[in-house]
């Protein structure tokens, strides 16, 4: 009831389009049940990631030969690994790594991708042609294959895998932004800005960027789950985080040799990846449904 009165209040006294768009979208978002599951999982994950080592009951690096490969028990709820390290502590510490890596990957991909997309879409001409043919090469591959190929070329390591995933990711944002800009640059407010003597950087940053912003954020919210998956996959192959780093994919890679005797060893980090990705996917899909104006007319 309360929310409906608020709706009429805004429709009587219209405010800035941006604010009401955001508010309406958020209200729609709150009505999607899976969004709440997503928000819950993501908040828990973020809390654990922020707490970092403080969330872990034991030192995730502490080796204890006497405790190796212990099954789950009240003392070690997730059991211990082949070096007697507490798995719960390692999985909890891993949350920070996975989340940080995913965010860095997306920020890198977004900065490069959106920047080049703005350039290609606004300048057009040969610049557009060169950039689009370059993205063609990148998009000729499934993202994970490209990331693996690049990471393989760069050599193993967490930072190399970040670069590899970001490098395989930016063309998607470039395409997205360029496509939008092709129609946006013909808008009257751009013409108005040009006639007022605004320079290209100003038009790009002040007038065009804010208008592609929401699309990019929606895309990023869908992509973050897959960024976590890609990071874990690279680590599992041995290209990402190296032992003893408690990265989830890397833990599972180490667990493979012991899984016949210790089912808990690969299972708990695996479930952690699943839950994290599920949380972001549920949230990302709900955000897209709530914020995408084309889908809104349907709902």
């Amino acid at each position: 009831m309360l929310s409906s009165t608020r709706v009429s209040a805004t429709s009587v006294a219209p405010r800035g389009r941006g604010a009401s768009y955001l508010r309406r979208s958020l209200r729609l978002l709150a009505r999607i049940p899976s969004a709440w599951i997503g928000v819950t999982i993501v908040s828990l994950l973020a809390a654990v990631a922020l707490a970092g080592p403080a969330a872990a009951p034991y030192d995730p690096f502490h080796i204890s030969a006497a405790d190796k490969l212990r099954p789950p028990s009240p003392v070690h709820p997730f059991g211990t690994d082949d070096l007697g390290r507490d798995l719960l502590s390692r999985v909890l510490t891993g949350a920070r790594i996975s989340l940080a890596v995913a965010v860095v990957v997306l920020v890198l991909a977004m900065v490069v991708g959106v920047g080049l997309g703005l350039v290609a879409g606004y300048w057009g001409g040969w610049m557009d042609e060169v950039l689009m043919r370059t993205t063609d090469v990148f998009l000729a591959f499934p993202r994970l294959v490209l990331a693996i190929a690049i990471a393989a070329t760069l050599g193993p390591g967490l930072s190399n895998s970040v670069i590899a995933i970001a490098l395989s990711w930016w063309p998607w944002y470039t395409r997205l932004v360029r496509g939008q800009l092709l129609s946006l640059r013909e808008q009257e407010y751009v013409l108005a800005a040009v006639s007022l003597g605004a320079g290209r950087p100003r038009i790009l940053l002040r007038h065009l960027l804010p208008n592609v912003g929401s699309t990019v954020v929606i895309q990023a919210s869908i992509d973050i789950g897959f960024a976590i998956l890609a990071t874990a996959s690279l680590s599992f192959i041995g290209l990402g985080a190296q032992p003893p780093t408690p990265e989830w994919g890397a833990i599972i890679a180490q667990a493979r040799s012991y899984m016949v005797d210790a089912w808990w060893y690969p299972t708990f980090p695996g479930l952690a990846i699943f839950l994290a990705v599920l949380g972001f996917n549920l949230l990302g899909n709900a955000v897209r449904d709530a914020f995408d104006p084309r889908l809104r007319s349907v709902t």
């Binding site: 090469v137 899984m259 990846i273 699943f274 599920l278």
Partner: protein, 334 residues
């Protein structure tokens, strides 16, 4: 249609040049010195220099690239440092296993994904539909390497229904080589024991690989089927008094199928990414395992060769999918 296919095929060489250039640049901006790696840890500076000269690594970069492309044009992908044999020969030896794995995963995707999607559209809003949707969201969020390990824990370790890894029982000898696909070859040879062994070895890896494609297939089939079922001609079909099976399959499915084929094509190519993980978990001797081994050994010729092979495969799959449209939908002409 032939002209269209030809035009698409002509685009492959420029694409290969682009991909090889990208990887070539990357290999040469990294700090690791391939000459040192080839020469070994204990090599002196003279030996490293000799290796550098022997592999042409002391020449300017553009020249090295031109040499590589010239060799590539003649079908020479270089020699693998790991296996000490030509990369092309290695790839030809490993590729059939990957084709078999991917094809099996694709069959599973169609056989499981499409019917599940249709059923959930026909019973939209019901319990089955809800379960299928939960499955499809979870499937997309599940790391496939973890799924493979879970399958191994349940079906190999706990139940003992399937073998842990490999393509064939150690005691069995591979069937006479015709296609390189053990299931097909053992069928052709009429060797039942090999066939059973090959299929049971293929079951878990292909199911693992198919996870990433089954989930979206269910989702797309459901939504396109729902859309098709809301059309006027469906109402007409019902009004004519047709049996429900005929309405669903002949009028609904046929029209719902085109977007499904698009997605299937997209995910077949997507499966190529999963191949690396699945082959590693199940010790499946395909190009994925070959290149993961190459990666850990810094075997650049092999890495480059695998990447180029996958590029060609990817382009061919996409072309195949485009041509398939014309078969499914007579309205499409090239």
């Amino acid at each position: 249609m032939a002209a269209y296919a030809l035009r698409r095929l002509i685009l492959i060489p420029p694409l290969l040049i682009g991909v090889s250039l990208l990887l070539f640049i990357l290999t040469h901006i990294i700090p690791a010195d391939p000459a040192k790696l080839i020469a070994g840890e204990h090599a002196g500076p003279d030996q490293v220099a000799a290796v550098r000269h022997a592999f042409g690594l002391d020449r300017p970069l553009p020249e090295q690239y031109v040499v590589y492309i010239e060799k590539l044009a003649r079908g020479n992908l270089g020699v693998s440092m790991l296996t000490n044999s030509p990369v092309l020969g290695d790839l030809l030896q490993y590729f059939p296993a990957t084709i078999e794995l991917t094809a099996a995963a694709m069959v599973l995707t169609v056989v499981l994904g499409v019917p599940l999607g249709i059923l959930s559209a026909v019973r939209a809003g019901g319990a089955f539909d809800l379960a299928a949707q939960v499955f499809s969201v979870s499937g997309l969020s599940f790391p496939i390497f973890f799924f493979g390990i879970l399958l191994q824990l349940v079906f190999v370790r706990a139940l003992g229904w399937f073998p842990l890894s490999g393509r064939l029982a150690i005691t069995a000898s591979p069937p006479h080589h015709v296609t390189g696909l053990y299931v097909v070859d053992s069928l052709l040879a009429g060797n039942v024991a090999d066939l059973v062994s090959a299929v049971s070895h293929l079951a878990l890896p292909s199911l693992t690989l198919a996870l990433t494609s089954i989930a979206p297939t269910v989702r797309i089939t459901r939504s396109t089927m729902l859309e098709a079922l809301s059309q006027d001609y469906i109402r007409t079909a019902w009004a004519k008094g047709l049996m429900s099976a005929r309405v669903f399959v002949h009028h609904g499915l046929r029209n719902a199928l085109i977007p499904v084929v698009t997605v299937l094509g997209l995910y077949t190519s997507g499966l190529l990414g999963g191949v690396f993980l699945v082959e590693l978990i199940f010790d499946w001797p395909g190009v994925g395992l070959y290149s993961v081994n190459a990666i850990t050994a810094f075997d650049y010729s092999a890495i480059m060769g695998t990447s180029l092979l996958l590029t060609v495969t990817f382009v061919l799959i996409n072309l195949g999918v485009d041509l398939l449209y014309a078969v499914i939908d007579p309205r499409i002409r090239y």
